[in-house]
Amino acid sequence: MTNQEALYIYLLRLGDNALINGHRLAEWCSRGPFLEEDLAMTNIALDNIGRSQAFLKYAAAIDGKGKTEDDLAYKRGEREFYNHLITELPIGDFAYTVAKQLIMSCFDVLVFTDLSNSKDETIAGIAAKALKESRYHFVHARDWSYRLGKGTEESHRRYQNAIQDLWMYTGELFEMNEVENILLQEGISNNLQEVRSNWINLIMPILQDSSIRIPTVDYMQTGSCKGIHSEHLGHILSDMQYLQRAYPDAKW
């Protein structure tokens, strides 16, 4: 694998994580628990979709085949997507979404902190902007974590179940394969093993202060770094890519 190929796949991964997470969060539009939260969720969704546009645009440039960010978002099949499995899981109830957001925003804050010092200036620039957004996503998820965890019996039960269900999807966040290893040597990407220990130090106290029991799981899901996904991604793409598939190159 050349450095250019590694960088392309790495950018797809950054872009796909944001795109699929953003698409899922946008499903809260008009369905939030109340108006203010509806807007908060869709704001966060748009932050994600905005950064996916930046990463995929750069990916298309690195690929050098004259594609655009829209080609990459709307014309790839599910085996060509590299988003983490946790991002494609259904939004579930509000507690489930808060749990997903806490896990992902803790991860994003740490990753973008590192990437804002990347030797690749474009990645560093996008990461610096994304870091500001993710710091807010983190605060939003953290505060809801406290409220749900220490709220009513029902909110605690739902939130505890969500953390329990999602925990087996946290392992693959820190997987490193050839792509990450090549780019780490180049000073472009970061060491996800270090991110892992920082992530645990960041999320554990929040879960403890939310009166949430830390799950113990003996199996971690994996596959997305090879383009192997859950059954959910195909359904997302059939919805998200419908227009481009039905009316190729449609413009408005």
């Binding site: 109340f34 108006l35 203010e36 939260e37 807007l39 908060a40 704001n43 807010y136 605060v139 939003h140 505060d143 409220r147």
Partner: protein, 94 residues
């Protein structure tokens, strides 16, 4: 029954050093949530540089039926406007 969370009044400062202007209200269970909700609703198009939130219950409002008594007497007292002074030379504003 009102199932909404408590009401908070939102004041946004457009630029650093300027005044905070009332722009609306949000529902929230505490001040931290009120600030976040205000941020998401009223500053998403880059309208603000600072936010104040104040529980609506602490706002004391004048009554509509008192408007005659409170405000009409000021109608015919134009001499209270500082428009009868000659502008000192060189002053840009009084």
């Amino acid at each position: 029954m009102d199932t909404q969370l408590a009401l908070w009044e939102v004041f946004i400062q457009k630029k650093s050093g300027g005044d905070h202007t009332h722009c609306g209200s949000v529902h929230a269970s505490d001040s931290a949530m009120a600030l976040q909700n205000a941020r998401d609703i009223y500053t998403r198009r880059n309208e603000g540089s600072s936010i104040w939130v104040i529980p609506s219950q602490f706002v004391t409002a004048s009554k509509a039926e008192d408007a005659d008594m409170l405000f009409d007497p000021a109608d015919d007292k134009i001499y209270r406007h500082p428009t009868f002074y000659v502008m000192p030379e060189g002053a840009k504003q009084i």
